[in-house]
Symmetry: C2
Subunit: 193 residues, 2 copies
């Protein structure tokens, strides 16, 4: 196989991300969102919202990180943030998926892409912390736009939202959390006890 | 409205791109592709294929260009490359769409995004020429993966493919066209007179 053939094999396999369904719906509630279009949307979010990062980020790296962050779901599936899950078990499955999927690329690109994915997962660098916060903001907007969305489905409380979503958004993009706080508080006041 | 409110209004409106259907299907032919997931896929294509650009490109600009290149379709719809269409009429509708959609952003970002979209449309800079070529490669792969895809639907001939797709791919990424030539020629030899 030539180098281009390897690259095309990866890109054709990546097409399957469009068939991985998330629990979140589109903002018009017409259907569940897939992880391919979600990846586009959060890359666009990052491009628009870069100025709100808590610490300065390299937005070009953040965008690339977000473009590949969910590719492991082709083998591992999506893990809903508000569902119950075994984090250690998921980590094993996702690492195997990263081995196989990024391994389709030529060696130099496999290493580069894998390092970027590992950095996102570790959530320690400023770029990764901002990327993670953006990944949490977009479904939150979908929930606000659809009258509660997955918050209803999983009976999420205001405390759970704060601990699973709020903390991560505040860590990477505090101004966005502040801007959304009014709408979020209003929803939870109205819908939960 | 605050700056963040304007940015969120744009990002929420952009969600509608996930409901704009293209004529191309996914690589497993299970359904038609939408322009949101298409935008993700070609940004990933560009990230992987940057080294094959005919002239050196700023890949970070190319990726941003591809992330926003189809947003006008929210108002203007998708124009199939192999269909008949009035290019001048489409241009008017797409420019009005760009005015409205990028106009949702704060003024500075509206100008930046619009300039990037105008550059893509003009297809004169090395970045835009490469972006356009990548935008042509991805559906071509979907057609090859699905036994002809839209080539069957529109009775495309080898000459039409060369003039509408091949010329643009060769202009921006000649090595990719060369790599695909064998599979393309084999399909057209087998399926057309």
């Amino acid at each position: 196989m030539s180098r281009i053939d390897d690259q095309l094999a990866f890109l054709t396999e990546a097409d399957k991300l469009k068939s991985i369904l998330r629990v979140t719906t589109l903002c018009d509630a017409s259907r569940r969102e897939n992880s391919g279009e979600h990846s586009w949307h959060i890359a666009l979010y990052a491009m628009v919202m870069a100025e709100h990062a808590r610490n300065p980020v390299n937005i070009d790296r953040v965008i690339k990180m977000l473009l590949i962050h969910d590719i492991v779901e082709i083998d591992a599936g999506d893990t809903p943030i508000h569902g119950d899950h075994d984090a250690a078990a998921i980590e094993i499955v996702e690492k195997a998926a990263a081995d196989r999927l990024f391994g389709l690329l030529p060696d130099d690109q496999a290493s580069t892409f894998r390092a970027l994915w590992d950095e996102f997962e570790a959530a320690e660098t400023d770029d990764a912390i901002f990327a993670k916060s953006i990944d949490r903001v977009q479904p939150l907007i979908a929930n606000l736009e659809t009258g509660g969305g997955t918050w209803r489905q999983y009976n999420v409380t205001a405390d759970q939202l704060q601990s699973r979503v709020g903390v991560k958004v505040e860590k990477g993009a505090p101004a966005i959390w502040t801007a959304l706080r009014g709408r979020i508080d209003a929803w939870f006041t109205q819908h939960t006890g």
